[in-house]
């Protein structure tokens, strides 16, 4: 109930205006939304690419963080980044239970991810990506990431 109301507010704001480089794809119901983000500057790694984000909201949103992953479709690849696994799982403290704050919202998450990509210079996947992708069965929020790297 709480989540529905809050998401309703966010949705009407999103329908009104969104920052550049972020577009709403679908928001049917208040469980799963899809948004597209683009990197706006000339970063050669992400030039002319659009990435699709999937938001999954629990009943306790915004007290609990949403589950945010990149999804892979024909024209929407998973961005290359040392904190983004090739299955779309993002390692960002903002999205973990520790780093999350209920004042964050869909728009602010998108902008954080935009800036995370913009600031990146390493064209590589995280360490042990292949192993993680092959073995992980857990949901992203249950994974205990170790936020060691503060440079990107």
């Amino acid at each position: 109930m709480f989540a529905t109301k809050r998401l309703g507010k966010e949705l009407s704001k999103i329908h009104g205006s969104l920052p550049p480089g972020i577009t709403l794809v679908t928001a049917e119901g208040f469980q799963e939304w899809l948004l597209d983000i683009r990197v706006l500057d000339e970063n050669p790694i992400y030039l002319n690419q659009t990435y699709r984000l999937k938001f999954k909201f629990s009943q306790s949103y915004p007290i609990e963080p949403p589950e945010v992953t990149f999804v892979n479709t024909t024209d929407r690849p998973i961005p290359i980044h040392p904190h983004i696994y090739s299955n779309g799982i993002i390692c960002l403290d903002l999205l973990g239970t520790q780093g999350w704050s209920p004042v964050q919202n869909v728009e602010s998450i998108c902008m954080s991810l935009q800036s995370m990509l913009t600031g990146n210079t390493k064209n590589e996947r995280p360490e042990g990506d292949a192993h993680f992708v092959a073995s992980n069965r857990r949901r992203p929020r249950d994974i205990d990431f170790y936020y060691h790297d503060n440079t990107v």
Binding site: F2, K5, R6, K9, E10, S60, P62, I63, E64, T97, Q98, S101, P102, V103, N105
Partner: protein
């Protein structure tokens, strides 16, 4: 001219108009239920409307606010205008429910991540509350705007679209349904009736909405202009339908012309009554005015006559000798009489004055009399009071005696039956014993006898 057949169709239609029992007749199925409900109808008006109110907790997060709300008054967690705002130690404001939820998850301020406990939040300043209370929001039922703090009261007590208990709850039917407040003045509407258009049977309370929205036969073409109209709004439509044949404006003065409403203005210019009509109208108004003037004058006249009659009779009475009256004052009307009175008014005035003086004299006497009376009463009552207190003291003394005797007898009995409790009814007093025990029982007369009385 509206067809006569429309009248009985109306009851469910205008919500505010008075509906009498005759109008309801076409709806009732004619069985015993219709009888009982129409007899209920009369005493159903008796319960006060406030007794039907239901508490309506208004969800302040679900209502629509008028215009954009100042961003400073919006809770950063639920993104709604704050509800029961609280201030954190780090100077941030949230809804109480939101911050409580957030703190149950992590003990950090959601905004600056400084450590925060539920003890670290306190009620936000009064000014914030006031600002929030004065925000204008739409009523969730009737959509009119009110200050947010007034909303709950409005919905509970006044909103015409809010649900209230069905008035039938106070009848033998004991109806437990709810009904919109604007329909609650018509008694219990929770009985089945047949829609006059589609013949479907449904509760009368739903009829209005049914005929306006969901009835299959709700529309019909107006027989004059051909436009599709709601059946239940037919008579309203006839009041404004452009193609209805209407008589000329001056029909009451003899113009025979009739035309469609839209064409009527064409006739207005050539109507032979166009000069006479307005004149007649003004004359009519004039006559009405004069009549009302005349009526009021007649009323004042009547009043004056009655006054004269009253004063005359009073005058006659005052001429009679009266022992209580001061003679000099009683003479006043006589002296007035001797003057040449050409105008009736002066005469009346003098009469009035004399009556007034008599009245004041009488009231003076009355107060005198009252004073005397009170004195007399006091004189009478004081001895009575004294006597009463005397009697009281005597009674007290007698009481003491009785107690003492009681105790005496008990002791006697105890001595006789070897300490068995309770007084024997046949115990005879012993003269010698009583005199020897006397000082002992006197000393105890304050406390001990009371115990015995209670034991008895």
């Amino acid at each position: 001219m509206p067809p006569a057949g429309h009248r009985p169709l109306d009851p469910s239609l205008p919500p505010s108009t008075e509906v009498d029992n005759d109008d309801r007749a076409p709806y009732t199925p004619g069985s015993s239920s219709s009888l009982s409900s129409s007899s209920l109808y009369k005493h159903l008006r008796t319960p006060s409307t406030s007794s039907l109110n239901i508490r309506h907790p208004v969800d302040l997060r679900a209502i629509t606010y008028d215009g954009a709300v100042d961003e400073n008054l919006v809770c950063p967690i639920c993104r709604c205008p704050l509800v029961d705002p609280v201030l954190t130690e780090c100077d941030h404001i949230f809804c109480r429910a939101c911050i409580t939820d957030a703190l149950s998850n992590t003990k950090l301020c959601p905004i600056d991540r400084s450590p925060l406990d539920s003890d670290g939040v306190s009620r936000a300043p009064k000014m914030v509350h006031n600002q929030l209370d004065s925000l204008k929001a739409k009523c969730p039922c009737c959509a009119s705007s009110f200050a947010r703090s007034m909303l709950e009261n409005h919905v509970e007590k006044y909103c015409p679209e809010a649900n209230v208990k069905c008035p039938g709850i106070y009848s033998e039917k004991y109806c437990k349904e709810v009904v919109k407040r604007r329909m609650s003045g018509r008694g219990c509407l929770h009985y089945p009736v047949e829609c006059p258009d589609c013949k479907e049977t449904l509760l009368l309370v739903e009829m209005e909405e049914h005929r306006e929205a969901s009835c299959n036969e709700k529309l019909k073409a107006c027989e004059h202009c051909g436009v599709n109209i709601l059946r239940c709004k037919e008579s309203e439509h006839h009041e404004e339908c452009p193609d209805v044949i209407r008589p000329c404006n001056w029909a009451e003065y003899g113009c025979q012309h009739e035309a469609k409403r839209t064409d009527l203005h064409l006739h207005a210019d050539e109507c032979s009554f166009k000069l006479v009509g307005p004149m007649a109208d003004t004359l009519k108004k004039e006559i009405k005015l004069l009549r009302s003037d005349m009526r009021s004058l007649a009323e004042t006249n009547h009043l004056q006559e009655r006054r004269i009659k009253f004063l005359e009779s009073a005058q006659r009475a005052s001429d009679r000798p009266m022992e209580l009256m001061d003679l000099s004052l009683a003479n006043l009307p006589e002296s007035a009489n001797t003057e040449p009175l050409d105008s009736g008014h002066e005469y009346l005035l003098s009469l009035l004055e004399s009556q007034q003086s008599r009245l004041s004299q009488l009231s003076n006497e009355l107060t005198d009399f009252q004073g005397k009376n009170t004195m007399m009463l006091l004189n009478e009552t004081i001895p009575i009071k004294n006597e009463l207190s005397e009697l009281r003291s005597t009674q007290q003394v007698t009481c003491m005696h009785v107690r003492w005797l009681m105790r005496f007898r008990m002791q006697e009995n105890q001595r006789r039956f070897g300490g068995s409790p309770g007084p024997g009814p046949s115990g005879s007093p012993d003269g010698g014993g009583s005199s020897s025990d006397l000082p002992f029982s006197r000393r105890l007369s304050d406390s001990a006898p009371r115990d015995i009385i209670t034991k008895l």
